[in-house]
Amino acid sequence: MTNQTPITIALLGAPNCGKSSLFNALTGGKAKIANYPGVTVEYAVGNFETSSGQNIRLMDLPGIYGDCGHSADERVTLDAIHGRLEGEQVPEALVVVMDAAQIRTHLHNVLQAKNYGLPMIVVLNMMDMAARDGVEIDLPQIEKEIGVPVIPCVAVRTAGRQALVDKLNHWGQDIADGNATVPKSDGDDLRILQKNARAITRANVSSPPAHNITTRIDNVVLHPIAGPIILLAILFVMFQAVYAWSAPFIGMLENLTAYVGAFVGSFLGEGWFKSLLVNGVIDGVGAVIVFLPQIIILFMFILALESSGYMTRAAFLIDTLMAKVGLNGRAFIPLLSSFACAIPGIMAARSIENERDRLTTIMIAPLMTCSARWPVYFLLVGAFIPAANVGIFNVRGLIMFGLVITGIVFAFLAAFVLKMTLLKGTQSSLLLEMPSYKVPSLKGYLLGLWQRAMIFIKRAGRIILPASIIIWFLTTYPNNDGVIRNSFAGMLGRGLEPIFAPIGFNLEMIIALIPAMAAREIAVSSLEITYGIEANGSADAIQSAIAMDWTMPMGLAFIAWFIFAPQCFSTLAITRKETNSWKWPLIMFGYLFALAYIAAGLTFWGANALGY
């Protein structure tokens, strides 16, 4: 049955209409889903088979409003449809997805899609939401008037996809046989298309005048005074919860790591192999893995905010500030993505059409506190900040909140400076659709959380494990005498000491900075390994080890360094790729290094002067 050549069908539609949800549901793909426009900025391909045995390659594309290709992500979509993507052919057909609640605003995009000269069907997604809001749609009549089959759909439910699955069953066959109908173009004058679209919706879609829970929520959430307070309160609670809820789990994982280390160690005689396994692998990887509970709690909040639709409201609330420093309103979403990791963030900047605005956004994205920095913060804050409470607030939670905010403040300052100097000129723009609020499906939510946790764990396997082994080797040999200064890593560190000693960094800290280029959280593994070797294999309490070895000013300086932490190869590499030049990654490294150095230095000298 499956020996047929697959046909390629592309998913087209406005941003946030549910293309990626549909893609994931049909192909079992893992494209990122959230309730705000501009989540998808790159195409993805997945396969599935209809019950009639037709193999379909489904192509998920970034959402577009028109056919002009204003921004880079829109151009990805247009390139895909016109067969200009490298290694991809022209798709054989289009599935145009439209939010059923938004027919009035988006139908002209569907009419426009008829110009691509490909067989197409329209999928009216989120029919359940439209029905909830009391929207009534005369489907057969619309289908007749636009001249394209219209399929109602609820992408996130199996039953809701049934009509589409049935349609694809025979339509897929038609496409493969070359019998699918190509719709007739309505011309490409946008005004006329809008006019036609309005006439069609006026006749066939009735929506009650003022539904809208969303507006009622927004009246509170976007209130000029209450809105910002709510936003701050949400962030505040998030940081408190990261500490308050994770403590028992962290303790369990720490004990587990120590236990596994001791257990494995007990089977092995003293020697290099035991040292490698216990000091290198188990301690190095374990040092980071213990922070998994905090990462999960953090993403519990972030995913809830992303899938509910609140994130665009946050964008609205801080837009005044963004406009003041010359940032494009669209920069919000790339910057938001950068809290997970700067790499998708920098890619998401593609949705910004003005090149200078896009570059500015890319340059400041690494100042958002990426999830790789969290383990470093957790370790250092845990070692140097007492677990006390101020009133009802956990002090460590407050400090974390402060560190994240400091990153944001410096990002805005950096944007301001860039817009005044290298990247002058602003096309002030926001134009952001505010999606309706949605209660995320539990399944989708848990799946998202699972994916985030797996990313964290896989990084431990793919990056931290090999890095730990290398660090173990470099800090153990050539002498294997437990004296870091005499090891390979120590020699390298000594070379850098003249640079970092003035800002209070000791040899272990300097050594930690270098492998952190591969991933920032490796700094944690590196400290664990070096102190473990120095303590001859018993550094199960890395936090107390560094708390004893470092002075308070040293610890604070190291924390300050990691707010800026210029060292991340992957970020520099993606910047190189997305800007297509060496200039911007070099400037990025240079300015972040300078800021990190100055911040660490000022913290160190300041804290010393204050007598800490």
Binding site: E145, I146, S429, S436
Partner: protein, 139 residues
């Protein structure tokens, strides 16, 4: 000068200058660049559409949250200034009745630079609808 003597033109304001929660109909676009107008159209704004300012930021009406049909779109002041509107309560047809049909804007004695030509239900629109149903039969 002629603009001031034109009573209808005086009803035209920009979306930015509209009172919050006062519904208005889009009259046209006053954009410097064609691409700006295209972007506004692509995201869904068209002549005759009913719009309303739902929310504004704390300072200088920046940003604005605009209701457009069943959706809401956030924009900055410069973007709101590109959209000219007539408050719905002033938007009357030739008989002086409050009109929901933007086509009546065509009844304006226009010395207006960019007269409304968009989504109206006039005879012109009727012909395009029949054009659509032709497509329907074609498939």
């Amino acid at each position: 000068m002629t603009d001031k003597t034109n009573p209808r033109k005086s009803m035209v304001t920009t979306l930015f200058d509209l009172e919050v929660h006062r519904p208005a109909r889009i009259f046209g676009f006053n954009t410097q660049e064609d691409s700006d107008q295209t972007r506004l159209r692509e995201i869904g704004f068209a002549e005759g559409d009913l719009v309303e300012i739902l929310h504004v930021g704390l300072f200088g009406r920046s940003p604005l949250n605009i209701k457009l049909h069943g959706t809401a779109i956030a924009m900055r002041p410069n973007e709101a200034k590109m959209i000219s509107v007539i408050p719905a309560d002033l938007h009357r047809d030739m008989e002086g009745q409050i009109s929901e049909d933007v086509c009546d804007i065509h009844g304006l004695p226009t010395s207006l630079e960019k007269p409304c030509c968009g989504a109206c239900g006039s005879s012109e629109s009727g012909s395009s609808e029949s054009g659509s149903s032709e497509n329907g039969q074609a498939t």
